[in-house]
Symmetry: C2
């Protein structure tokens, strides 16, 4: 544990109280000058610490930043997010996670960033990742067959949708296969990348990007119409750490259900949030192919079932889905 | 308005109060002896009326029976249940409704019975209709094409499911196409019969049978396992009139939505209650044909979409559905 973590721990244990410098120093068994240096460092990190002449120091305010120490504090998971790699800026959390996974990082390791320079969307698309979002990737080592890895996209979608619904009360929906919407606007994207060797799954990277506190005016004009942020919808700032903690906890629960062969149950939850099912849609597949029809269901592989205009049924495994009604 | 209705109206307007006989008589402009006769008649109908020497009469308790006067009182609909035909015993409410419809009964007319001698289920099956249930049929004259009439079964299913959920808080589900379940047990069946002439829909009879207050021991042994009643689940008697009123009100709302071309929205509600979608099922069709597969969705005609074991997709328009998992 680092010095600043020890000091913060002590402050949180004595929440709301002023503590004399002498008492902090003796309790942590650290010199008073070291404590003062640490307090200065914390203030640089935007922790607000109050000093009162006769009373000592008190932690006034925790900064609204994705600080790993704050995420781990009070995080009620067994393995998801127990190890966190934090970056204020990174090319892509999925790429970092992949590097770490190749080097043996364990199941549940979290890579999280304040901004991404080269955030990745589906099909190699760029994913705008400015300050104000949560950009994170989870390394998973599930013991499943490679063909089941795409199901983790749906599991993650349910975890995000349920967390956002619970934390914000907004009208959260899922657009097949992996966009989370508020009303009609995208607030979160999910990118699952599986790595298999000789038909054995080595690891899966689940990347999640959530538009939390950004002002939509900072978004490129062409993306603004179809996108939103939680702040935009709630008209107030959201505390990042709490959102991430609740997500990681719900994700762990659902991931355990998934591993216990309860994917059909998770799919039931997915259907409840689905905006796609029951809509008339157009799916843009690779090479410019387009399928159009009524989305009538989803099967247990996560394929969308379309009823085309001539009444025939068709399974669609991937693509960009556009709701036409 | 009949005499007993006038007297009841007066009692309900003076709820909880004792009223001298003289005052009742003068207010209703009816002789005191007529009032006394009416009060006796009401007591025969199981209304409990208290008499106090110096104070007069007071309505103590309304019987828990499907009395049309009670259903109409406080019923907040515009046309559903405005006209009610009540029978303590009848062969089949659907058959009576059909007779009435053929003779010009208007849109929204309700036929309701305490017991049916020859209740009808799907495919000509017998439907057990003892005392304790609600057996009713609604005459509808929608201006839709005949092929859309089966959608009314789904509309009715949603109205029943939402009403039961709201009134009882139980775990209400719909089994495709038209059974309402509590957990896994059937509590309500719906039978829609459409009558068209020269490709024009003349009227539709929507029959609804709900197991409300029956003790399941009175059910034939072979039906007991898969069936339940609301009383059985709540472990208390339910007030029939309130249940029917809330159902009629919700039904009218949904029926108006249906007529306003909002069936896709109703189908979304149906999906939320569906226990079938996501289950592995067997559908028994006519002539002993059986289709087996995973129920992956429902289309806007109300056909169930199955994914067979070989991965092919299949639409099923009718049949008896059995959930295998």
């Amino acid at each position: 544990m680092e010095l600043y973590e020890l000091v913060l721990d002590f402050f949180y244990k004595n929440k709301g109280k002023y503590i004399p410098l002498k008492e902090i120093a003796s309790n942590l068994n650290i010199s008073e000058s070291e404590i003062i240096k640490t307090l200065q460092k914390l203030e640089e990190q935007e922790y607000k610490i109050d000093f009162a002449e006769d009373l000592g120091y008190r932690l006034e305010e925790t900064p609204n930043l994705l600080l790993p120490y704050e995420i781990k504090r009070d995080l009620k998971t067994d393995f998801i997010g127990k190890k966190i790699y934090y970056f204020s800026e990174v090319d892509s959390t999925n790429d970092v996670a992949k590097e770490l996974a190749e080097n043996g990082a364990e199941n549940g390791t979290l890579v999280i960033a304040q901004t991404q320079r080269r955030g990745k969307g589906r099909d190699g698309k760029k994913w705008i990742s400015p300050l104000g979002g949560v950009w994170m990737s989870i390394i998973l080592r599930p013991t499943i067959k490679p063909e089941k890895a795409p199901q983790l996209t749906l599991v993650t979608g349910v975890a995000v949708a349920e967390t956002l619904k619970k934390q914000t009360g907004l009208n959260v929906k899922i657009k097949w296969p992996n966009d989370i919407l508020i009303d009609d606007k995208k607030v979160c994207g999910i990118l699952t990348e599986a790595h298999a060797k000789y038909n054995t799954l080595e690891y899966v990277i689940v990347g999640i990007g959530i538009d939390v506190n950004m002002d939509m005016e900072l978004f490129p004009q062409e993306l603004r119409r179809g996108a939103t942020s939680i702040k935009e919808e709630l008209e107030m700032e959201v505390y990042y750490v709490e959102l991430v903690q609740r997500f990681l906890e719900r994700f762990e629960e659902l991931y355990l259900e998934f591993n216990a062969d309860q994917f059909p149950e998770i799919l039931r939850k997915w259907r409840k949030y689905s905006k796609t099912i029951g809509s008339y849609v157009e799916v843009h597949k690779r090479l410019g192919k387009i399928v159009r029809g009524e989305a009538v269901g989803i099967n247990k592989q996560g394929a969308l079932i379309l009823e085309l205009d001539d009444g025939t049924l068709r399974k669609v495994f991937s693509g960009e889905c556009i709701h036409l009604n």
